[in-house]
């Protein structure tokens, strides 16, 4: 009896360690990674303004792909993204520009103004798409969708990871390989939902 109890305890301990390590390994981190700090929206919905640098520049299909990427997290616990045509009341601004050879395809700038219990509350986020690189792929609609989904992941509070099955990989071809056969993620994956749902 004593021995069976001992075995159960050992098995339970091993299971706990393995499962904790597994979940930790596959879950995308919040921006502040291991320091237990997060940032997040303090709202159930946020408004996104797609700037004329996108709507006046790109084809309807590219614009639709961008919008699909921006709303790709709407079936997670993150705030639902809706679009606004009013520049005066956006939470997320999406814009595009030729920033030259910068080393990055897209950028997300997030501003937070308060901290409570290690949770930063977001004021706004700005997503910039660098057409210097991306204009070469105007016919690859899903690339635009993937990049905007990735950047909105940052806007929702997720950091990069090196999970091959995540839209939050740190380099573009790591989640949408426009140069090869895989991966071709255009939406959050299982690990991404785990990460974002842990924040909200």
């Amino acid at each position: 009896m004593k021995h069976s109890m001992k075995r159960i305890m050992i098995v339970l301990t091993i299971l706990l360690i393995v499962s904790t390590s597994f979940i930790y390994a596959i879950t995308p981190r919040s921006y502040y990674g291991n320091t237990s700090k997060y940032y997040k929206w303090d709202s159930s919905s946020i408004k996104c303004y797609v700037d004329s640098t996108i709507t006046s520049t790109f084809s309807t299909s590219v614009c639709n792909s961008i919008k699909a990427g921006l709303t790709a997290w709407n079936n997670s616990d993150a705030p639902a993204v809706t679009f606004t045509t009013s520049y005066s009341n956006w939470d997320v601004l999406a814009e595009a520009g030729d920033y030259g050879s910068s080393g990055w395809d897209a950028l997300c700038t997030t501003s937070c103004s308060s901290l409570s219990n290690n949770i930063y509350i977001e004021d706004y986020a700005i997503i910039d798409l660098n057409t210097y690189y991306l204009d070469n792929y105007l016919s690859v609609n899903n690339l635009w969708r993937a990049i905007c989904c990735h950047e909105m992941g940052h806007a929702h509070g997720l950091a990069h990871n090196n999970n091959e099955d995540s839209i939050m990989n740190e380099y573009t071809t790591g989640y949408y390989n426009y140069l090869g056969s895989s991966p071709h993620f255009t939406a959050p994956q299982y690990a991404d939902f785990l990460g974002v749902n842990a924040i909200y």
Binding site: K6, T13, I17, Y31, E95, S102, L107, C108, T109, T110
Partner: protein, 174 residues
């Protein structure tokens, strides 16, 4: 005997809880800005990065200036090359490295979290890629792999230890 393992189990659960649960913190902070990029290039090892870089050098910041592209500020750091490991570059020359972030008049762009701006009085090992000539922005170097090709060092390593100096970049991420 059972009690002993029960205590171990409780200790493991307690440690997991401490690891996962955010500590209470009453501090308040204003205007915390986080910038993240979807990097255009990426490498899986220092060897691969070195092969795909135009120059590999050791150097220090000589001076820097900023410029505005759209709404974003970029910093051009003039690096005094003190050691050349590979590529067409001479010791004692100044090269220009571009990074995102900086202040320009009333514009401010926070540096990308993974790629802090090059600091003065600090020795760096740099694996760099030369950009294509551009009528608007000229030609300059970018840090290979976005941020991967830049590490701070106290002394420049011997050539055979060069790749090892970049291990922390790859160990951290993989």
């Amino acid at each position: 005997m059972n009690k002993k393992y029960l205590i171990i189990l409780i200790a493991v659960i307690a440690c997991a809880g401490l690891f996962a649960y955010p500590k209470a913190n009453a501090q308040r902070s204003r205007n915390t800005v986080v910038v993240s990029a979807s990097w255009h290039d990426h490498f899986f090892s220092a060897e691969e990065m070195a092969e795909n870089s135009d120059i590999v050098v050791g150097g220090v910041l000589d001076s820097s200036y900023t410029e505005l592209r759209g709404n974003l500020v970029f910093t051009r750091s003039q690096i005094l090359v003190e050691r050349v490991y590979a590529g067409d570059c001479a010791e004692g020359t100044i090269i220009e490295v571009l990074q995102t972030g900086g202040d320009y008049k009333d514009h401010h762009t926070a540096p990308i979290s993974e790629s802090p701006l090059i600091e003065p009085s600090t020795k760096y090992l740099l694996m760099l890629s030369l950009t294509e000539p551009d009528d608007r922005f000229g030609q300059y170097y970018l840090i290979s792999g976005g941020y991967q090709g830049m590490v701070k060092v106290s002394e420049y390593p011997a050539e055979e230890d060069l790749n090892g100096a970049f291990d922390p970049v790859f160990d951290m991420k993989h």
